[in-house]
């Protein structure tokens, strides 16, 4: 039997800081549709959860997946396809999320045996394969045209044609996904996962099977990415090939780094910042790739702690 470590008890001060961050994020997300238009706010929720999911693997397992678009995208497509075949919203969301989990099983099985840069290349290659499949499998994906114009029939009297209603439904789903991530990293499983990340031989020598922890972390991460992808479809009402593109896999990395990896709140903030920037750029008609490329390079070179990480660093030093 594996002995599972007890979660370390946080100090009072850490508890307070955490509570402040969480309360701040929660409050911000509650009033977000009042500050920016609801569809952009919906995007921030979906991408924010996507980035949190990605960071479960990147930050807490030390595995840089460069192919998370595969899970986000396949879930987005399956959700859209279920909706356009007349399924109800809850069924479509669940179906999309589960499809991401199903896809993650073989990918995780083959990729967690490698680590470091190798892992990144393998996940990237698998995601590219999904992207080619999405292009060819026009029955499911609509190919170049994508899927749009599907119904989102109302449930429990909620009118999903109203984007503010959709936002608060997604906020609920986001809260569930975020809570799962939060619990995971603070659970005994999460402690062991981080032990494997920090020192694999040592973790193994005290009886943990590193592969198993990486595999499980991958599945949780991919499933949450799937939930985020189905939220994206539900929020947007349109799915295009962009959801499975390699740029999408890169974008979620950027959001996570910019916001602050291993902070959970950070990736959401990073997602918000990137999407607001992109929104500004499109309205100002500036080339998006050039600006995001420069931001990406600068973040990697000089700002690897990210927004939340930097703030935490400064407050801790006092």
């Amino acid at each position: 039997m594996t002995v599972i470590p007890r979660a370390a008890t946080p100090t009072d001060r850490e508890r307070t800081t955490r509570a402040v961050w969480l309360a701040g994020l929660g409050l911000l997300l509650l009033i977000l549709p009042k500050l920016i238009y609801p569809v952009l706010a919906l995007d921030i929720l979906a991408w924010g959860l996507f980035a949190v999911a990605f960071d479960l693997l990147f930050g807490f397992s030390g595995l840089l997946s460069f192919g998370h678009a595969a899970f986000w995208g396949s879930s987005a497509y399956v959700t859209a396809s279920l909706l356009s075949h007349g399924q109800s919203v809850p069924v479509a969301l669940l179906g999309g999320t589960l499809s991401a989990l199903a896809l993650a099983v073989p990918v995780a099985f083959l990729s967690v045996r490698s680590s470091g840069i190798y892992f990144s290349m393998i996940t990237l290659a698998f995601a590219q394969m999904i992207s080619f499949l999405a292009l060819q499998w026009t029955d499911l994906t609509g190919g170049e045209n994508g899927l749009q114009g599907f119904d989102r029939p109302s449930v429990l009297g909620l009118d999903f044609s109203n984007s503010t209603t959709r936002y608060y439904v997604c906020l609920l789903l986001f809260a569930v996904g975020f809570a799962v991530a939060w619990r995971t990293v603070r659970s005994p499983f999460g402690r062991a996962q981080q032990a494997v990340r920090d020192n694999e031989p040592r973790a193994q020598s005290i009886g943990y099977d590193p592969q198993r922890f990486k595999f499980t972390a991958f599945l949780i991460s991919a499933t949450l990415a799937g939930l985020a992808g189905s939220m994206y479809t539900f929020g947007h009402g349109v799915v295009s090939l962009e959801v499975v593109n390699w740029r999408t896999s890169g974008e979620v990395v950027m959001m996570t780094l910019l916001g602050g990896t291993t902070t959970l709140v950070g990736p959401v903030i990073g997602a918000g910042l990137v999407l607001l920037l992109r929104d500004q750029l499109t309205t100002a008609n500036l080339p998006v790739g050039i600006v995001t490329g420069i931001v990406f390079v600068l973040v990697v070179l000089f700002f690897r702690r990210g927004v939340v990480g930097t703030v935490q660093h400064w407050t801790r030093r006092k």
Binding site: L110, F132, R247, V300
Partner: protein
Amino acid sequence: MNTQLFLIQVFNGLVNGAFYAMLSLGLAVIFGMLRIVNFAHGALYMLGAFTAFALGQAFGLGFWPALIIAPILVGLLGAVLERTLLSRLYGLEPSYNLLLTFGLTLLTQDLVKQVMLSRFAVSSAPYSPPAALSGVVNLGFVVFPKYRLFVIALSLVVCMLTWFVIEKTRVGSIIRASTENPGVTRAFGIDVGKWVTGVFAVGVGLAGLAGVLAAPIYSVEPYMGAELIITTFAVVVIGGLGSILGSVITGFAVGVLAAVGAAFYPPIANTLVFILMFVVLLVRPSGLFGLPEGAR
């Protein structure tokens, strides 16, 4: 499938394989010395093609001078990037350099797109092969474009030359020594840092050369390198990082297998490389020529 069609597919596969081989060779050389995977390899390949196109537009330079000048320019740019940006991250996880080069890819692609649109008013441009290489060769049983045969031949020569330099010359022994043990190599009075820059420049120059060669076949377009580099990553995973000769052999072999497979069942043309990767990962996780995990 009749023999003729089969042979045509083998030739087409060799052409694709030539590009896989040159790109994965560059990736392998760079990885060996710097321990990083250069995502920008695809963007620099595109830059090679674009430079050839721009040289032709601006100075009227044809294919042959471009074939020399463009890879050198791309190599020089690589040296600058290595010195100013990549070298800042050597102490960290190699993943950060993958991310850095990813950012550079986004930047380069859209910069080239802007330049092509504003300066030349096109979003993609054809590039004609030199007169001497246009037309076809009749090999008796099959007819094949001269230019493509040239691409196969030249890439074979370049790959073999690179292999020869690294395995058989004094320059190569310095590179191999720096790869294996930078500390001891430095103790022998060799400035490893300079060699790192040089190796990166050459590896990237190979990508530039591949780009010039690709221009007449695929035409010049800002995103031409993106998907190719990801497919090349799959080729690298199949072959295993680390072996120079292995990356060349794998490049050509995967190119041919994918083309022949696609002739049997066209819908899998794009995905066959990834299916091959899947199979190789199942039976030999470290790749065909790679060292097992831990020895890397």
